[in-house]
């Protein structure tokens, strides 16, 4: 098992120019568990992840990794512990899968260090875990959306971090690929003890696949806890402004949210 890292946000405020997006947010990521973050569009989920990988400095408050402020840690040292797969990463034109996954090794390499056996092994292990070995020599631009997403996850795996944050890893994928990616992340968590934090759009998949569900609204954590405690009709109304019915999911025994729109209701 891995040593478990504590990632917390304390009284965190984030924003862009004159606009505050996150204000006074408190969050403690459950070590060694899978956390899903949900919230309405533009509520600041990506912004929150960005501050955790130190791309965005807090206006107030701090993000702590094992008690140390992430913005004061050396960049590469942080990147060896905490990985982030952004919402829309860019692949350079023509790059091969294997080379792209190899970029995940960056924090393990010095300016002068050469490519090592450990680097090749990490890339190979990441390709195997994501079932992309056969794609290794293909160009990333030629792949389907589902394949491409697996390749990006492979890059994040090659980084070999104990904490992995993913921003909407399943968006744009059809349902079987969504499930495939979420199963893969669960495997990663179970077999390696990697702490996974993911932003998800689909509330039901989020509830199914996480140990800890965090709902964000109004720049703060509105509710956090086990999925059955968080995914309630009240939370859905408060966070998404939507009336819904929450029932028990017959396949998993967890909560299942059914939206109530204005049409198509039984009498």
């Amino acid at each position: 098992m891995t040593t478990e890292h504590q990632l917390t946000a304390e009284n965190l405020s984030l924003g862009y120019k004159d606009r505050t997006v996150i204000e006074g947010l408190e969050l403690a990521v459950a070590p060694g568990r899978v956390t899903a973050i949900v919230g309405a569009n533009a509520c600041g989920k990506s912004t929150l992840l960005r501050s955790m990988s130190r791309l965005l400095s807090p206006r107030a408050g701090q993000v702590l990794l094992d008690g140390k402020e992430v913005h004061k840690l050396p960049a590469k040292e942080l990147a060896r512990t905490l990985g982030l797969l952004p919402q829309s990463p860019l692949a350079p034109e023509g790059i091969t899968v294997s080379d792209l996954v190899g970029r995940g090794r960056h924090p393990h390499q010095g300016v002068f260090s050469r490519w090592s056996v450990a680097d090749d092994t990490a890339v190979a292990a990441a390709l195997e875990a994501t079932h992309t070995v056969e794609l290794a020599d293909r160009a990333v631009d030629e792949l389907s959306g589902g394949q491409r997403q697996r390749v990006w996850i492979a890059m994040a795996l090659a980084q070999e971090t104990d904490l992995l944050l993913l921003d909407e890893p399943t968006t744009f994928l059809d349902v079987q690929h969504q499930v495939e990616v979420l199963d893969l992340l669960t495997d990663l968590n179970r077999s390696r003890g990697t702490t996974v934090v993911m932003v998800l759009h689909d509330l039901n998949l989020a509830a199914r696949y996480c140990d800890h569900l965090v709902a964000i609204a109004g720049g703060k954590v509105h509710a956090a806890g086990r999925p059955c405690e968080v995914l309630t009709e009240d939370t859905v109304r408060a966070v998404f402004g939507l009336d819904s019915k929450v029932i028990i999911d017959p396949t998993s025994g967890g909560p299942l949210m059914l939206p109530i729109g204005r049409h198509h209701m039984v009498a």
Binding site: S88, L90, R103, H106
Partner: protein, 353 residues
Amino acid sequence: MSTPADLRQASPATVAAVTRGRTRRNRRRRIVIGILVVLIGAMVAVSLMVGRTFYPPGDVLKVILGQDVQGATFTVGRLRLPRTCLAVLAGASFGLGGVTFQTMLRNPLASPDIIGISTGASAAAAVAIITLGLSGSAVSVFAITAGLGVALMVYLLAYQDGVSGIRLILIGIGIAAMMNSIVSYVLSTAGQWDLQEALRWLTGSLNGVRWEETVTVLITMIVLVPVLFLGSRDLTVLQLGDDTASALGVRVDRTRLLVVVCAVGLIAFATSATGPIAFLAFLAGPIAARLAGPGHSLLLPSALVGALLVLLADFAGQYAFGTRFPVGVVTGVLGAPYLIYLIVRANRAGGSL
């Protein structure tokens, strides 16, 4: 390090396949670099020997070693040698500056000669020389200040919640046009300025090169190139987008500042020596990418392609046609179709430039 044990486990066959693929791509890159070096060497030799008078390798070597050879000492030592050296150095500088911008802004159109940085440097050099009557390093100081100034201006004008590549390119093209009109104006005030000298500030030329210019560019390269290469891995990671790069431990703002200052420095000093050799910074990177393949730093291949292009274009300009054309006219003829191709391709894809 607390790496989980099983993360190091992959089947030996997969590891071998990964190593093999990487070695194969590296070999291609090394072969390309080797061929470019050989071609540059050959072109340097040809440029030194061939001209209106032919001097055999023995004579050329003697001149380089400082011995006196009738006729060759002047023609080779004073004319051809500084010209050839500057062709290599300026070509490499333009290639490096161009590919740095293209990589950083993830767009082949974002090269410093398209977005006004070279033009800014050349306008400043023209003003310094013609209007203010300066010479030597004062001109270089002017050129680099203007290059950095234009870079900063384009960046600030393009900044709205972050920098979008396309806005930056369009603003840069506008500024380049402004800078060009400054050059034209200054040239029109120059009175009896001969055509060669005027063209130098419009398209770039190696005519009448002196050692001091060559040495200035060499010193600039000795200072800036190592710094640029130190940032080259970070620059390659920056291609994945700011968010990803930051997550991989790259300090995005610092890296960008460092490489931009180096790139602008190289471009500005080279421009103050040769004028803005048309489209060179724009062409070198994409050609190098085609040859060396994607996935690795393009700095070295682009520097070599830049040097080779200038050597070839200058030689062709001098001897291939009835009249002598400055090097920039030849590279301009090569570069314009490529620019049109890029724009047509972008239009067809319906996407960004």
